[in-house]
């Protein structure tokens, strides 16, 4: 009689073999209905982007909820819930004409009251990014059920970069008014206006959405069901993508090394374009409250000592390009290359440190400080190690500290208990939404995560930033944005190390995957299965 172990081994081998045989080469139809299987990670806290803003939520939410507009390839607004819009001559009023044939998934008609509630009661009150971005909106008028007018105190061009569903989220007023939007139970079983209707959420397993039969955009969605699987293990995700069990994975689903390998797979596409509106940037901050970092020569020396090209290659495996400033180079309307640069030059670095009075001591060390690694994964820890090694060569001894996220945030933004830190953040589509946070003295807010961590204060920079926020003339505003980059690179409170290329991986045979800059947050309503390619 076989021992239990033998029995298990045999049956598992057998099970393995039979599984292989029945493994569908990308299950696209189940009982005749076409099913698109996607992946989100980690498991979202809620499914409404307006109340639980985070990447895993946003990618699901856009399928359930439409926004006022969406964006095209050039980041210009395209109608969604709003059919058309006009701006008043003084730019203090934006009138949106809304569609009249849109219903919430429970049958209630969508009206301008929903827009008013969402912007005034939620976005402006509790959304961490919308609040400052919509600072100039003082009221949303609703002259009729299908017209919403944004009334602004001052013209605010930045609003136009922040109106899609993940940014200016539209809640169903009839289900949210009078409740606390953060804890409303409909965050877990949403009622939206989007192409897909929420069906079920099997926690730890999957989120299931089905086609909205009454969707205003006829012909969409082009699949019957959309399932978001939650797969905590990276190698399981990789296997799932390779054998077609998951066809769309928008949130950097595998490690960088693995992604390079999967690029060779003829059935998969590894795409970075869909992340451009999020614009992730990797940087290193100095704690300017410390006297030794207040000498700009010290900061410049350290910039000269880090080889950003090698960082992009060795640590990020090419999924990054060296940054030349705080604004990413692919944001053509805002970027300028004409800024002070600090090319890799260890000799110059050492000279600068000598000039600043930091000479090598008996053990060859000029300067000692600690460095808080960003906490989101191996890549950033490796980046920290890379920086440590590069600085060792010029006599700077760096001690790495690996806190977990909550401690890290506390230490940096509340207690200011750090010497240097590195992090990535989203620069977003307009520098006013993301970039200025790092350089504005008014954004040094204790306790607010991702505010101005270095403590940089410069009257000159503040003036430029305030110009960016209030300037109406687009050319003068762009000039100010260029000026911001010049000052940021000259004063160097923070070394901009890399423009990161987050990526999505999806099956090549999917048609019409959104590759606009908001691709990763866009709805999958236009996606369908093309002809299966030869495997």
């Amino acid at each position: 009689m076989p021992t239990r172990r033998e029995f298990l081994v045999k049956s598992s081998a057998f099970a393995g073999a039979s599984l292989l045989a029945s493994l569908p080469a990308g299950a696209q139809t189940v009982n005749g209905a076409s099913v698109l299987v996607a992946n989100t990670l980690p498991e979202p806290a809620g499914l409404a982007a307006g109340s639980t803003p985070a990447n895993p939520t946003n990618v699901v939410s856009s399928n359930l909820f439409d926004g006022l507009i969406t964006y095209d390839e050039n980041f210009r607004p395209v109608p969604q819930l709003a059919r058309s819009w006009t701006e008043s001559a003084d730019r203090r009023a934006i009138t949106f004409k809304l569609r009249d044939d849109v219903k919430w998934h429970d049958g209630t008609p969508f009206t301008s009251a929903d827009v008013q509630y969402s912007i005034m009661e939620v976005s402006k009150k509790v959304h961490p990014i919308a609040r400052p971005t919509f600072a100039q909106i003082v009221a949303v008028d609703t002259p009729d059920p299908h017209t919403a007018v944004f009334r602004l105190a001052q013209p605010s061009p930045v609003i136009w970069a922040y109106l899609d569903t993940s940014s200016a989220f539209i809640f169903p007023k009839h289900l949210y008014a009078g409740t606390d939007p953060l804890t409303n139970p409909y965050n877990a079983k949403p009622v939206g206006t989007g192409a897909f209707v929420f069906k079920e959420w099997n926690r730890g397993n999957y989120i299931r959405l089905v086609k909205n039969p009454d969707y205003w955009d006829k012909g969409k969605p082009r699949v019957d069901e959309l399932i978001f699987r939650i797969i905590p293990d990276a190698s399981a995700r990789s296997v799932a993508l390779q054998n077609g069990t998951v066809q769309y994975a928008p949130l950097t689903p595998v490690s960088l090394i693995e992604a390079r390998r999967l690029e060779q797979n003829p059935n998969l596409i590894v795409d970075s374009k869909g992340w451009r509106s999020n614009a992730p940037m990797f940087f290193m901050d100095f704690n300017l409250r410390q006297k030794r970092f207040q000498d700009v020569r010290v900061r410049r020396a350290i910039a000269h000592a880090i080889n950003t090209k090698q960082l992009a290659q060795a640590v990020f495996y090419g999924f990054a390009t060296p940054a030349t400033g705080p604004v990413p180079s692919y944001q053509k309307n805002f970027y300028t290359a004409d800024t002070p640069q600090y090319p890799y030059d260890p000799a110059r670095a050492e000279a600068l440190l000598d000039e600043a009075g930091l000479h090598r001591d008996a053990s060859g060390v000029r300067l000692r400080f600690n460095h808080l690694n960003h906490t989101y994964g191996e890549d950033y820890q490796r980046a920290g190690m890379f920086i440590q090694q590069q600085l060792k060569r010029i006599g700077v001894e760096v001690t790495l500290v690996n806190y977990d996220l909550p401690t890290y945030l506390r230490k940096v933004f509340t207690e200011h208990d750090f010497d240097t830190m590195s992090a990535f953040y989203a620069a977003f589509a307009d520098p006013q939404i993301g970039v200025i946070r790092r350089y504005w003295s008014k954004n040094i807010i204790a306790g607010a995560a991702w505010s101005n961590g270095s403590g940089y204060t410069s009257a000159e920079m503040d003036t430029v930033i305030e110009t960016i926020q209030s300037e109406q003339d687009p050319q003068r505003r762009t000039d100010a944005i260029h000026q911001l980059q010049v000052i940021a690179q000259r004063d160097l409170p923070s070394i901009n190390l890399g423009e990161l290329k987050f990526f999505r991986i999806y099956a090549k045979r999917l048609e019409n995957v959104n590759t606009t800059p908001i691709g990763v947050y866009a709805s999958l309503d236009d996606v369908a299965f093309g002809a299966a390619s030869a495997t």
Partner: protein, 297 residues
């Protein structure tokens, strides 16, 4: 048929044969000691055996072991020399193991001795404390401690010691109970020696054996725990340890599995050596009759 003539072994071989004979009687002890000595030698000689700083990115990444003479064990995904990592990692692992083992043994021995000797209320209280520490799942406890304080070698040593002393305490307490009834201890009480003094001068020295024997097992546990913590990303980022090598190799498991295999083998061999040593010492301390019983069946 005549008996073959036996030549006595030459003089130079006699000491070797003597050692082998002893080793044959206690194979675990011998094997364990030898292996451990080899590992200690590697750890101490790391500076001379290897040319590179284990944390420095000195070569091209992903070199397979045996393909490049400059990097006999290959390089990892950042171009760091794996041989250097193993040699220098041996140092850290042994340090952690020994420190945690000693700490746990010392704490456990003290508490066990006091509990066993004093008895009564003190014993009850100490035993409840021991139970408390034993009830908490050790790894979770360690993880929470490391997260709460901060990942570093010191925190790991401390938390490993905290989760491992109960086993020592139990063993020592049993011994202490026995010793406390011995005549010389009773005599010391009669002549009025203070209780703490009795514990230190009479009880502890006689109950140390189980604690000492356990040190090497505890060291092995500590090394395993450090490996898990580093693997989970909770290790000290400023040193290369075998656990951190296993952890960082995980991303490349599909293709470059040697990055995980090699440091894992190092851990295995070291913990094996420590366990063999511990078992050997245990056999020495508690000799058991062997072979005789089998005959019954």
């Amino acid at each position: 048929m005549s008996r073959p003539v036996q030549f006595p072994p030459s003089r130079s071989l006699r000491p070797l044969l003597a050692v082998l004979r002893v080793a044959g009687k206690a194979p675990s002890l011998a094997a364990g000691t030898l292996m451990l000595l080899a590992i200690v030698a590697i750890a101490l000689g790391a500076r001379h055996l290897t040319a590179y700083d284990p944390m420095d990115m000195v070569g091209s990444p992903f070199i397979w072991p045996g393909t490049d003479a400059g990097f006999p064990l290959g390089t990892d995904m950042m171009g760091r020399d794996i041989l250097s990592g193993i040699a220098w990692g041996a140092r850290v692992s042994l340090e952690i193991g020994v420190a945690a083992g000693l700490l746990a043994a010392a704490a456990g021995a003290l508490i066990g001795a006091v509990a066993g000797f004093y008895g009564g209320f003190v014993d009850e209280v100490l035993m409840r404390v021991t139970e408390f520490f034993q009830t908490m799942p050790a790894l979770l406890f360690t993880i929470v401690m490391v997260v709460v304080v901060r990942p570093s070698v010191a925190t790991i040593v401390l938390s490993v010691a905290l989760t491992n002393w109960p086993q020592v305490a139990r063993l020592v307490r049993a011994e202490a109970l026995r010793v406390s009834r011995a005549e010389y201890v009773q005599a010391a009480r009669v002549i009025g020696m203070s209780r703490p003094r009795i514990v230190v001068t009479h009880v502890l020295p006689n109950v140390m054996t189980p604690a000492i024997v356990m040190i090497s097992i505890l060291a092995g546990n500590a090394i395993l725990t450090e490996a898990v913590l580093s693997f989970l990303g909770l290790g000290d980022p400023n040193v290369i340890t075998w656990g951190s090598m296993i952890g960082s190799g995980r991303e490349a498991l599909q293709t470059a599995w040697y990055m995980t295999a090699i440091p894992g083998c190092a851990v295995l061999v070291t913990v094996l050596a420590l366990n063999l040593l511990g078992n050997g010492l245990n056999d020495l301390a508690n000799p058991r009759r062997r072979g005789a019983q089998r005959g019954v069946l």
